[in-house]
């Protein structure tokens, strides 16, 4: 327990120090991007890893809240109420989508979330009068939470980090709570859970709503960061990328999706600056990870660690 507290402390110090050590604005912005995607990946993992539900429409919550807050601002709302209203709107959409998607389980769930995601994308793309179609919408200006200016790269990074830390703590608490245990029970043994008197549907629906809530928060951060939202941000590819982050890092763990987000975002930025073929690489990573690393990096490393440690103890004994 003390060791993990120490580890957490080190991680926190490193994360806070990022803008102080890396002076280059490009890399600080990259770090903010990673945090935003990590939040999205952690939220989808609530469904994927803990609930066993593969959602292919998670980017739509990012889009719904990003579009909603932009539109609310353009219609004359203040920054605070635009943000709150957008998250409420997007989470309500999540509640509705959850009702629809949970009519089915397994592959049916996946297909319905895919169709819903494509419909949100289609509305963003086609409803020109509202969303200006493919051109997207410009977000007027970043808010000033409590009067603090977050326009510089490092202050925006810290703002994102605070939101991310709150979200991660919240999701960690949820996964450790009785609700989290029930969610995992519903994933592994839905019939037994029903026998024990749990409302499996309600548990999974609440998880869906929670995931859409944090996805919506990630959407706010996304639009604050880019000051722009277009249908591109909520395409199927985006939903799949987020899912891949969770699977690559390790869906059965809390930190796996974060590791996945770091790797995918870095590779994407690195590759995009040299060649145009990111999508091919994304597809190839997808196929390779699923064929050869179905459990992801974090569980894999943990396994290696567990294997290495007893070996060392035996070797060290006289």
């Amino acid at each position: 327990m003390r060791r993990s507290a120490l580890l957490l402390g080190i991680c926190a110090v490193v994360l806070i120090a990022v803008p102080l050590v890396i002076r280059n604005e490009f890399y600080i912005n990259l770090a903010s991007q990673i945090l935003i995607y990590a939040l999205l990946a952690v939220s989808v993992n609530l469904l994927l890893g803990y609930g066993g539900m593969v959602s292919l429409g998670h980017a739509s919550f990012l889009g719904l809240s990003a579009y909603a807050t932009t539109l609310f601002l353009l219609w004359g709302a203040g920054q605070f109420w635009a943000a709150v209203g957008a998250v409420i709107f997007s989470t309500l959409c999540g509640a509705l989508f959850g009702v629809l998607a949970l009519r089915a389980s397994g592959i049916g769930f996946l297909m319905i979330t895919l169709a819903l995601g494509q419909i949100v994308w289609g509305i963003a793309y086609r409803a020109n009068t509202l969303t200006d179609g493919d051109n997207g919408l410009r977000f007027p200006a970043r808010p000033q939470p409590f009067g603090i200016d977050i326009n510089s790269a490092s202050s925006f990074y810290w703002f994102t980090l605070i939101v991310f830390a709150v979200a991660l703590f919240f999701i960690w608490r949820v996964t450790r709570s009785p609700f989290g245990a029930a969610l995992q029970g519903a994933r592994d043994q839905p019939r037994r859970m029903r026998m024990l008197g749990h409302n499996v549907w309600m548990i999974q629906w609440l998880a869906f709503v929670l995931a859409s809530f944090w996805g919506s928060v990630a959407g706010l951060l996304y639009v604050y960061y880019n000051l722009f939202i277009s249908p591109h941000a909520i395409s199927l590819q985006q939903s799949a990328e987020v899912l891949l982050m969770a699977i690559l890092g390790g869906a059965s763990t809390l930190t796996g999706p974060v590791v996945g987000a770091v790797i995918i975002t870095l590779v994407k930025n690195l590759v995009s600056s040299y060649v145009d073929r990111w999508n091919t690489l994304l597809g190839a990573i997808f196929v390779i990870v699923i064929l050869f690393m179905p459990f992801g990096i974090v569980p894999g490393v943990r396994q290696l660690w567990a294997r290495w440690r007893p070996a060392k103890k035996i070797g060290g004994a006289p």
Partner: protein
């Protein structure tokens, strides 16, 4: 009046095209229990193959056949080399088909660039048919005719042949089918390849109406998904009815309420899901 008649005809023709797209998709889904998310990519590949063959002077019907065979070959390789390795891991299989769909889309962009490729309809089918004062586009009627022929052929295949009986047995109860000695894994390859061939044919047949362009795959895949959700996975009749329902909704939706076309398409899917989760004619619980 003219508007309604032309739109109705367009809807029916588009429904025929959707049947070519979604019938194989639905059969493979029913048998293998996975939606092939690269199916839109197969359709787009078919359109590009056809465009390339006609570009180099090939006959349109040669292009249709070539596209069908080419995409069918890709389907067989994909099923044998990748999907087969993940047998039993349904979730992994679906995600792999998604990964492959990205690779297909990106390679198409690399090879055929971002500009749309047009495929001219065969010269003999270009002049419209005149009937009772209205001009009907001949090519669309021919596409509809081909779709109907394919529908009858598939029905006969499924209902009257030994192969069809084995496929139906696999869809209904795979364990039992294996138990009585039906080579289910061979059926997987056959049905998957059949779906790929039909998607390839459909891609080229649709190209004179839709063109071949980047994004054709993600435009068509949701339509196939909705057809299957409406009609029920593994049901030929479901795919047939679903295709024409979606064809009408899509065409009239775009013509009358362009901003809400996706919404109108989506509404019947929601109703079916809420009241009949297995689809209208479904055999398999998805």
């Amino acid at each position: 009046m003219q508007f309604w008649i032309i739109q109705t005809l367009n809807s029916i023709a588009f429904g025929g095209l959707l049947f070519l797209l979604s019938s194989g998709f639905s059969l493979a889904f029913g048998l293998m229990r996975i939606p092939n998310l690269a199916h839109g990519g197969f359709f787009m590949l078919g359109a590009y193959f056809g465009a390339t063959i006609t570009y180099f002077g090939g006959n349109f019907w040669v292009a249709v056949l070539g596209a069908g065979l080419g995409v069918g070959l890709i389907g067989i390789l994909f099923e044998r080399l990748i999907l087969r390795r993940l047998a039993g891991n349904v979730q992994g299989q679906v995600l792999v088909t998604l990964g492959v769909s990205f690779i297909i889309a990106d390679l198409c962009l690399l090879i055929w660039t971002g500009d749309p490729w047009t495929v001219p309809a065969p010269a003999e089918l270009r002049p419209p048919i005149r009937l009772g004062g209205f001009a009907f586009p001949t090519f669309r009627l021919v596409v509809l005719g081909i779709a109907l022929v394919v529908a009858v052929a598939l029905y006969l295949l499924m209902d009257r042949t030994r192969l069809g009986a084995m496929i139906r047995a696999g869809v209904d109860d795979m364990e039992m089918a294996r138990g009585v000695g039906i080579p289910v894994s061979l059926l997987f390859t056959i049905v998957f390849a059949l779906g790929a061939v039909l998607a390839g044919l459909g891609g080229t047949l649709g190209a004179p109406m839709l063109n071949a362009y980047p994004g054709l795959d993600t435009d068509m895949l949701p339509l196939a998904l909705i057809v299957v959700i409406l009609g029920g996975a593994g049901s030929l009749l479901g795919a047939f009815v679903g295709s024409f329902v979606v064809g009408f909704l899509y065409n009239f939706g775009i013509a009358l309420f362009p901003d809400l076309a996706y919404f109108i398409l989506f509404l019947p899917m929601v109703l079916v899901l809420v009241f009949m989760p297995q689809g209208l004619f479904g055999r398999v619980q998805t």
